[in-house]
């Protein structure tokens, strides 16, 4: 009985051990990373590509996951190998922050411009006083003569 229990325990450890024992943190998954990494030859994310380069990178990511690497470590490895262009979104630090903020600034500026335009277009305008054009003395005299002729 004891031998049987020991055998079962050993079998459980043999199957569960490699996957669970080594990692001190939750494992990331290939599915999680596929949408964040670009295929360098086809310029789509890995989850949308079956190109040979994409397939190979998926294998690399899975190998690193099996080695307990975190998502950040795997991304760092890929950036070292392929450059920052391998990331689908730029890092949120340094100069790359511009890529995150500029669209927001653009949308806000656009909204302000549209609001200003609408405000100007819809506001009630006061009627401007009619301005009488000055009549030169010669014309005035002619008019007086004409009116006098009518009398």
């Amino acid at each position: 009985m004891i031998l049987r229990a020991a055998a079962v325990a050993a079998a459980v450890l043999a199957f569960a051990g490699p996957a669970a024992a080594a990692c001190g943190h939750p494992r990331t998954t290939l599915a999680h990373l596929e949408g964040q990494i670009m295929c360098p030859t086809c310029h789509t994310t890995l989850d949308q590509s079956n190109a040979p380069a994409a397939q190979r990178i998926k294998v690399f990511i899975q190998e690193r996951i099996d080695q307990c690497a975190t998502a950040q470590q795997i991304k760092a490895d890929l950036v070292t190998n392929f450059g920052a262009g391998i990331l689908a979104a730029p890092p949120r630090k340094g100069f790359d922050l511009l890529a995150w903020w500029l669209p927001i600034v653009g949308v806000v500026a656009g909204a302000v411009l549209v609001a200003f335009g609408v405000w100007r277009w819809t506001r009630v305008r006061e009627p401007e006083p009619a301005v009488q054009a000055p009549v030169d003395p010669e014309t005035e005299q002619q008019l007086d003569e004409l009116l006098a002729g009518l009398d």
Binding site: I57, F60, G83, G85
Partner: protein, 178 residues
């Protein structure tokens, strides 16, 4: 109010000019294969076995530059043939360079070991060198003469195919003769 309107117009014009500038820049910076007789695009790159390589360092020598990747099927078929050519022409001073394009460096090492490739390999993980040479895929091969100019045919396939095998021999000859 007039100044606000004027400012708006200036901003709008600046935005349009900026977009036009981007369009022009994109159109003028699209990568094309360098023409025969044109200087080979300069680059520096990390070598797979460490150190940095500068193309200027091989000026004065004929160069065969082969773009490849471990995930590329035809690259496997031509690897042994390229190594044989390297063994044949290295005594004549021809420099062979393998450029590992958009590849995982660990895979590249395994590939070279498996196929017995001994000439230097440069890393082009980001594809920057490939872009400068207007690469359309892998494998592709360029020839550079002693004066640093592109010569011969731009080989667009494995040199084990008969038409590319002939082009390869013509390319080496052009690089050696000029």
């Amino acid at each position: 109010m007039r100044s606000v309107k004027l400012t708006g117009q200036v901003v709008a014009l600046a935005a349009v000019a900026g977009l036009l500038g981007l369009l022009v820049w994109r159109l003028t910076h699209q990568s094309h294969p360098p023409k025969v007789g044109a200087p080979a695009p300069h680059f520096t790159a990390k070598q797979l076995d460490g150190g940095t390589f500068d193309l200027a360092s091989v000026r004065g020598k004929p160069v065969v530059m082969n773009f490849w990747a471990s995930w590329c099927g035809p690259c496997k078929s031509e690897a042994a043939a390229l190594e044989q050519k390297w063994q044949k022409y290295s005594s004549q001073g021809v420099v062979f360079l393998g450029v590992d394009y958009n590849d995982v460096s660990g895979d590249a090492k395994r590939f070279l070991s498996k196929h017995g490739v001994t000439y230097p390999t440069l890393l082009d993980g980001s594809g920057m060198i490939g872009d400068r040479y207007g690469l359309t895929g892998v494998p592709e091969t360029y020839f550079i003469d002693r004066k640093g100019r592109i010569v011969g045919d731009h080989i667009l396939g494995p040199i084990t195919e008969s038409k590319w095998a002939e082009a390869f021999d013509r390319g080496i000859k052009a690089a050696l003769d000029s």
